[in-house]
Amino acid sequence: MIALLRRDLSLAVRAGGGFGLGVAFFLILCALVPFGVGPETSALQPIAAGILWLGALLACLLSLDRIFALDHEDGSLDLLATSPLPLEGAVAVKAVAHWITTGLPLIVAAPLFGILLHLPGAAIPSLLVSLLLGTPALSMLGAFGAAVTVGLRRGGLLLSLLVLPLYIPTLIFGTEMIRRGQDGGDTATPLLFLAGITAGVLALVPFAAAAALRVNLR
């Protein structure tokens, strides 16, 4: 498992800055938003929390689509399935690798983008906590979607169609938490919900994803 994690991470790094790309996409998105909605603080501030979470979601999504597809194409997935590694473990490891290469850099960079979008300083801590709690669920659900669509040509759009609706609860609680942090409200409830969803997803979804993979390898 450690070997798989290390391989995935070093592949991400060698394939041209795996760590940087997600952040760069996030940056571009945050830069595009003011072009779309106008540059005034009054226009940006109320939507900043939402845009940050939507950006995280999309950055996640874009980097996801090939999480299993590459391994399927070059035959590694067949070999992994016949290896002593349980497929559930392999799925979990791949989700972790995805989180480390995409989620983690996003979290580190998020305060900066918050400033770009005029997010008030008071909301930064809840921004960080909500991302830290929420993004692992995004990676894991994404791995599930990737497992379901592996081997289908044109996976990209189908994957988004399957995965984005699953992201809705995380998105809602995540932005709600930031918004409450911004207004100085009670952040404990959304925080608990976020943590609960992520815990449930991490505990159960690997099994569903491994089952889907097995079907697709057949």
């Binding site: 035959g75 590694s76 399935a81 290896s83 057949r218």
Partner: protein, 208 residues
């Protein structure tokens, strides 16, 4: 010691039986070569033995964690070097040293080359070297010598012989002569009758 026993096996691809009624056993030290025209179902049979798809009928008996499978695709990562690719599979299979595997397939000089910069035959050699680090007793190989030159084919045959001598077994589908002294099983007589579709027992004719 019997490593693999196949009883009256039927396999299906895309919902239709390909071969049926296949039985054979493989003991330690034995190799079996599968032959048959294109499309008879060799690949399907090997994938079933490797556990990647369920059999339609019949039984496959073997101990757990016996199979090392090598298919048309080699499972290489172009961004990693030859040695890194091999080391990864060695770790996953809890397996052996790299040096003998690299030497056996004449890859020592290429060890630090990224796998993307290998020619077709060199890639295939790396895919075969993986078998040595996997340390599994039963090799299930689907056309292993594709793209290999004559010298590499001979080297591969030596590798299989050494594996058999060390108590392993091999099940190999191939169209060309490998120069191995092994039993040959031609699948042509086992071709599934056209009328029998692949469907679970108890299913009615009206359906698939």
């Amino acid at each position: 010691m019997t490593l693999l026993a196949v009883h009256d096996l039927a396999v299906a691809r895309g919902g239709l039986r390909t071969v049926e009624g296949v039985s054979f056993t493989l003991a330690a030290g034995q190799a079996l070569i599968l032959r048959g025209p294109n499309g008879i179902g060799k690949t399907t049979l090997l994938r079933t033995v490797a556990g990647l798809q369920p059999p339609i009928a019949g039984r496959i008996d073997m101990p757990e964690d016996t199979v090392a499978y090598a298919a048309h695709a080699d499972g290489l990562k172009g961004a990693l070097t030859v040695a890194e690719n091999l080391r990864f599979w060695s770790r996953v299979f809890g397996g052996g040293d790299l040096a003998p595997a690299l030497a056996a397939m004449d890859l020592v000089a290429l060890a630090d080359r990224p796998a993307a910069a290998l020619s077709a035959g060199q890639k295939r050699r790396l895919g075969l070297a993986r078998l040595l680090v996997a340390r599994r007793p039963l090799w299930v190989l689907d056309e292993p010598t594709v793209s290999l030159d004559a010298a590499s084919v001979a080297r591969f045959a030596d590798m299989v012989r050494a594996h058999l001598a060390a108590g392993g077994a091999a099940l190999i589908a191939t169209h060309i002569d490998l120069g191995l002294e092994a039993r040959v099983l031609d699948l042509t007589p086992f071709k599934a009758k056209a009328v029998r579709a692949a469907r679970p027992a108890g299913f009615n004719e009206a359906f698939a």
